[in-house]
């Protein structure tokens, strides 16, 4: 081999190995199917990679159920993601307790002061920061303005649970299906049970039950919430066959104008059109938003909100660049872009001003003004107890289980943990 050949070979080898040595790969595992969100995230990653030589941030998608099932194994392997999607709550606490999350309290410093404190607190375990939130959501009633008008129901007049039941009766009398619910997947029904618990028991209801006060989940609040849910179910307000309806089907039915209301998270706005028969869904000016009514005599306020808090958790072996990327990600300009494109409701304070979509703006304003925000019960409690809440919500609404038995079933599940 001549010297020239050798030099050439050495140059090739150097060219091949050099970037591999310098490159720090950061994988961000997520479950979002929303194209607007994904486009924004990919853009943020590209911006970061362009500014930081030698770091390669990559968003990777995994289907929701697959993500949940695979994550425990992935975190224990060498293939673990540096950053990954989380709903906070019970699963996050289990991950932290098992030592899979990095304590980033010192690294993140004051970078989170610009974020909503509710969301920041949701990503603390025993006072230590383990992740950074990016999104909050709100579950509220979406209603079809035309159908409300047809039945002579005024949304502004629905303040209390009794007003709400009155509206349901009026809609039914007008031959309109009052509510659509994807009870085949159960969790959509647990929003009713959760909100009733919040409106009856106030902000401490869930925390007290978790702590086992007054019989834990068997306490009066949970039983009363079950009774109210059955009161609604007894009016037969749901679409026929609701027990086998899937979530996407229910969104389509709302988009088709087959029912007047849907108690759902903000993603319904993105789902109602593509899942409708025509593919067009309801025009947004025909959709209104209604906060969950207060229950007379209850401790909860109408300004208390239920909804998801999502963020990125940091794996235990993540390099410092991963935390640096989270700071980069949390910049106001990206939050404003998320708001402007209605990709999601960002947690950066003041971003609500950038919403142009009036429905999303309404939700963002609610969340900015919330007096207490509660994560989804099934996420807060973790899957072992959370899924029992989902099961009993459907069974109670359908009259298949008594409110007392439902409360006892939740308590049983909590004790088996």
């Amino acid at each position: 081999m001549s010297l020239r050949h050798l030099a050439f070979a050495a140059a090739c080898l150097a060219a091949l190995t050099a970037p591999a040595f310098a490159e720090t790969n950061i994988t961000v595992l997520h479950v979002s199917e929303n194209p607007t969100q994904k486009a924004l995230w990919n853009k943020i990653a590209a911006d970061y990679n362009a500014e930081h030589k030698g770091v390669n941030v990559q968003f990777k998608y995994l289907e929701n159920e697959a993500f949940k099932a695979k994550l425990p194994t992935m975190l224990q392997s060498d293939d673990r993601p540096e950053l990954f999607y989380s709903w906070s709550g019970g699963v996050m606490q289990a991950q932290a307790k098992a030592g899979f999350l990095k304590d980033i309290t010192a690294d993140i410093g004051s970078a989170e002061s610009a974020l909503s404190p509710i969301a920041v607190d949701a990503f603390k375990v025993d006072g230590k920061v383990v992740g950074v939130p990016f999104e909050v959501g709100e579950v509220a009633f979406y209603y079809n303005r035309k159908l409300f008008e047809k039945a002579g129901v005024k949304a502004e007049d629905i303040k209390s649970w009794d007003d709400f039941l009155g509206a349901v009766k009026k809609l039914k009398a007008a031959g309109i299906t009052p509510i659509v619910v994807g009870a085949g997947e159960k969790w959509p029904m647990h929003f009713y049970y959760s909100y009733l618990v919040m409106r009856i028991g106030g902000e401490h209801a869930l925390a007290d039950a978790k702590a086992g006060k007054d019989g834990g989940f068997k306490n009066a609040t949970f039983v009363e919430a079950g009774k109210r849910l059955r009161e609604l179910g007894a009016l037969e307000p749901f679409q026929p066959g609701y027990l086998s309806t899937k979530h996407t089907e229910s969104a389509g039915m709302f988009g088709d104008g087959k029912a007047a209301m849907d108690l759902m998270g903000q993603w319904l706005l993105g789902m109602q059109a593509p899942n409708s028969t025509s593919g067009k869904g309801l025009p947004e000016e025909n959709i209104g938003i209604l906060s969950f009514p207060i229950v007379p005599g209850g401790k909860g306020q109408a300004t208390e909100t239920l909804g998801g808090i999502n963020g990125w958790l940091v794996g235990k072996s993540a390099p410092p660049q991963a935390i640096d990327f989270l700071k980069f990600f949390s910049q106001a300009k990206y939050a404003q872009e998320a708001a402007a494109t209605a990709a999601y409701i960002p947690v950066v304070k003041g971003a609500e001003a950038s919403f142009t979509n009036p429905l999303m703006k309404r939700l963002a304003d609610d969340l900015a003004a919330t007096t207490y925000h509660q994560n989804y019960f099934d996420q807060d409690l973790g899957p072992a107890v959370g899924r029992v809440i989902n099961d009993v919500s459907v069974a109670v609404a359908a009259g298949e289980m008594t409110p007392e038995a439902a409360a006892a079933a939740i308590q049983d599940a909590a004790e088996q943990q």
Partner: protein
Amino acid sequence: MSAIQTTYVEPARRMSANGWAAVVIFLPPALLLFTVFVALPIAQAAWFGFFNWDGYGRPEKFIGLKNYGYLIGNATFNRSLVNNGLVIAVSILVQQPVALAAALMVAGRIAGAAWFRMIFFLPYVLADVAAGLIWHFMFDGSYGLSSVITGALGLPPYYLLADKTWAFSAVLIVILWKYFGFYTMLYVAGLQGIDRSLLEAAEMDGATALQRFWHITLPLLGPMIRLSIFFSVVGSLQLFDIIVPLTSGGPFETTNTMVSYLYYFGITRMRFGYSSAVGIVLFVTCVAFAFGYRRIVMRDD
């Protein structure tokens, strides 16, 4: 006679000398694979079954036989067992006779037999999940086939999948539809293996078609029937991928099988100790059946 025997025995002895070499060369890889991918996971599942474990970190909360205790008297699990039994009963009492009848029709050289065989076999080729999804829409009372039928009869829409008494019959219908073609094929193969001259001889002796079927075809098909029943029972015990898209175990947990129970009440709830315990129950059931059936029913095959 003895000469023939020695010619049979001799190569067998020589083989056994070579056989040892074959055992030494071929057994370790197979044994290793079997141990790593079959035996170890089963042992691990048995071990996890004694813990209350959410899948994160190591199982630490030892709870003895409590996971098995939760299963005893659990209404949902009992219902899953009953459902598994129903699937087995319908497979044996309805699916197998229908498959055999279809096989008798298409095994002969009638016009279009090949087409019918293909049509019968088509559902089997379809992925289970796709079949479940398709039937979920078919049973839909507002848009599906079910709405066409109720509409034609002037009845109010009927939502079979939301009816807690009858929802499981939807699962049974899909299973019948999906797998009878597979058994038809098995029986067609079995029928083609029957010596025609036997049937012709019987016909010459004046046996009726029914007599020929009862005394010749059926006994000669025996091994195939016993094998089909074996497949259908083991398949029924493992039934899962049709349930998830079709009913998700609902309404009110009335359409679970053992495996979907394991998935919905163990894995999706991150109760890995509990799901391991269910898995062990399922495993013991399958093994007991497989060995028992082979020993007792298939011993002559």
